[in-house]
Amino acid sequence: MRLTFAASMRDAYDGIASAAERMIKYQRQVSTGIRVAQPSDDPSAAATTISEKAAHASYEQYVQAGDSAESRLAVADTLLSDVIDKLAAARTAILATQGSETTDAQRENGAQELASLRDAILEDLTTSFRGTYVFGGAAGTVRPYSKDGAGVVQPYAGSAREMTVDIDRNRPATVVFNGEAIVRGNDTTDLFTAFEDAIAAARSGDADAAHTASGALQRAFDRASQTQSTVGTSLRAIEDHSLRLEAAGRASTERVASLEEANMAEAISGLQQAETAYNAALGAAARTTRRSLFDFLPM
């Protein structure tokens, strides 16, 4: 085969261009740490990376929702503990006002203590967190309980619908509660009416009325405890899901890294090889084009 000037020059250039292209590819990988800079570098990896990043964002979103729910539930847990403690104290106070040896002053003190406990429970049940009443249900910004001018607590003004947030896919957690379910439950009258009855019974020394009121407080105590148990279950679930989501997020990050990021050892080794090839191509081109028969002809 005849070797022509144009062919040898073209071959020399092709060799240089090909080696330079390979060198730049590895150079880019080493300097950016990214293997798939654009979809055509690896279309399948690019598409999978998009899905993985979306999944990762989804995990992070659920973790954030879980964190937010956790703080709401922590508040609810504290409030419910307080309500439970006060209900227990109220029952004790009712018992203290009863008995044949109890004086009027002692009964009045007991009535005052019950009123104070009622007000404290009212305060707990009307606590708002991040602009929403914790026990107001979906009514959100509507105060669930309030007193009228005579100091009587009015019926529940909140919503029976509770508010949940998703702490994982298809895993809701209740974060805003139906106060009515704690305060009244299936009773015909609510906790605050029971307190009014208990206060009246304390003042009058009516043992039957005090017993009835005490029963109502006990049922409210049970309902609050049950709600607190639900809160505790949700808090544990959030912790479990957070751990799972964080593990899934880490796995997703690793998958993205394996798809998208350059293997630095491989990239650096490839860069060195490509650089050697580039230098060799330059050298070969220089040697190939350096001499011809014309160099040996007498001038």
Binding site: T4, P39, S40, K53, A54, R130, V142, S159, D166, V176
Partner: protein, 458 residues
């Protein structure tokens, strides 16, 4: 038996022949870098002796030929259109690909952010900040769709510009070929060699732009047809192509003699541009529009069923779209909602603290709503990116493969027609030495005649 004067004439003719050999060599060396040049070779023949007792009459030049392999030249012309098509397609698709953006920072990232804002709204449905966040992320998403649609539209328009400019280039080449045809017809066979080189070059350039059929004429010129036998150059006549804007989008159709021949073109850069403009980019636009349209419909369906903070229901979140056509360009947050974030329907019942609709909107992130209910919105975007990446990769690989094929044929053609400097150096020495020897012979005959003349003169 020839005389000494005959020998002198023979020597002079030989000197002239070797000098012409040197000229041919010099011409080859001069054109070592001329594209399309085929090396020349000089043909010598011994001049027929006058009688059987004659030693001969020396040498004469019978012709100068260019060394060509018609088969290889035809093969180059056959492969160049595919190379041109692949190169043009690659160039345009790379522009499209560069517009997609990095993973997680394009429409996929904006979708994720918007769903994240719905999730935050679900956590605090009465929060004005969360509502403003929803509006911002939705606006950003709409903006991303607009930009992506704009980039696709720009790429399509650029491809169309390339179609139009390629038509002009084709016509310019056709005009040059017509002119060469004319020159070839007017010149004798000996004057055609440089014209053939130019013609070979022009045909290659033309085939790079559009696949043409070439018929060799007896006078050395060519007749050229394009598409389904549409005349482009016939002898001294050019039948120029036209790029004519067509409704509804004003993209150009390639016309020959008033006929639309766009679909008849089979290869060359113009076909790469047409393919990108009429096949690839519209496909990407349709996919993008489908994602935007489905997003609008899905979000609106949930939003309409929900209740805003003022107790209203049956309200769109995005301005409704009549069809998927152009959805990516037209998607926008509903004007009333944008003006008043309280109109965002976060509740699924008429209670301000409810977050049922916001949760449903956030969960739309994982809902299989596209591609026959098999893909999420982000999945569909990833399929879009995959499609663009795959097409670009295929075009890149095709372009490289086709360039390799053309390069190999070029190497074969060069082996036959290319100039080898070493070979020309050998030729130069050969003709130089022959010239020297003939000059010495001439001198010897001259000296012999001088001796004879001196004898006669005594």
């Amino acid at each position: 038996m020839s005389g000494l004067y005959t020998s002198l004439t023979m020597a002079a003719r030989a000197l002239s022949a070797q000098q012409m050999g040197l000229e041919v060599t010099g011409n080859n060396i001069a054109n070592v870098n001329t594209a399309g040049y085929a090396r020349r070779t000089i043909d010598f023949a011994a001049v027929k002796p006058e009688s059987s007792l004659s030693a001969g009459n020396g040498v004469e030049v019978t012709g100068i030929r260019s060394i060509r392999d018609r088969l290889l030249e035809r093969r180059v012309l056959e492969e160049v259109p595919s190379e041109g098509r692949a190169q043009q397609l690659t160039e345009i698709l790379q522009v499209v690909e560069s517009g997609i953006g990095a993973t997680g920072q394009s429409i996929d990232g904006r979708l994720t952010e918007m769903f994240g804002s719905f999730s935050r709204l679900a956590d605090a449905p009465t929060s004005a900040v969360a509502r403003a966040d929803v509006l911002n992320t939705a606006d950003e998403l709409a903006q991303s769709f607009h930009e992506m649609a704009g980039r696709l539209s720009d790429a399509q328009r650029q491809a169309d510009t390339r179609v139009r400019s390629t038509v002009e280039e084709i016509n310019a080449l056709a005009e040059q070929i017509r002119s060469l045809n004319h020159s070839m017809g007017a010149s004798g066979p000996e004057g055609r060699l440089p014209l053939q080189d130019q013609m070979s070059n022009l045909l290659r350039s033309l085939n790079n732009l559009v696949n043409v059929d070439v018929v060799q004429r007896n006078d050395g010129g060519v007749d050229i047809t394009v598409g389904s036998g549409r005349a482009l150059v016939i002898a001294d006549e050019v039948y120029p192509l036209e790029a004519v804007s067509q409704p509804p989008n004003g993209l150009a159709a390639v016309m020959a003699g008033g006929m639309d021949i766009t679909s008849e073109l089979r290869g060359g850069r113009i076909v790469g541009a047409i393919e990108a403009r009429d096949v690839n980019i519209p496909d990407y636009m349709t996919r993008l529009d489908t994602i935007a349209y489905e997003l609008v419909n899905q979000v609106n369906a949930i939003h309409q069923a929900g209740f805003d903070q003022l107790g209203n229901t049956n309200q769109d979140f995005f301005a409704p779209l009549a069809s998927a056509d152009g959805a990516a360009r037209l998607i926008n947050v509903d004007g009333a909602v944008r003006a008043d974030s309280r109109l965002i329907a976060a509740a699924s019942v008429n209670e301000v603290g409810d977050n049922g609709a916001a949760k449903q909107l956030a969960n739309l992130r994982d809902a299989l709503v596209l591609e026959g209910n098999s893909a999420t919105l982000v999945d569909s975007w990833s399929h879009f990116a995959f499609r663009v990446g795959r097409d670009t990769r295929a075009a890149l690989d095709g372009s490289k493969a086709q360039s390799d094929i053309v390069e190999q044929i070029d190497a074969l053609r060069d082996a036959v027609s290319g100039v080898s400097l070493d070979e020309e150096a050998v030729q130069m020495i050969k003709f130089q030495r022959a010239y020297e020897a003939n000059a010495r012979f001439f001198s010897t005959i001259d000296q012999t005649l001088t001796i004879l003349f001196s004898i006669v003169g005594r």
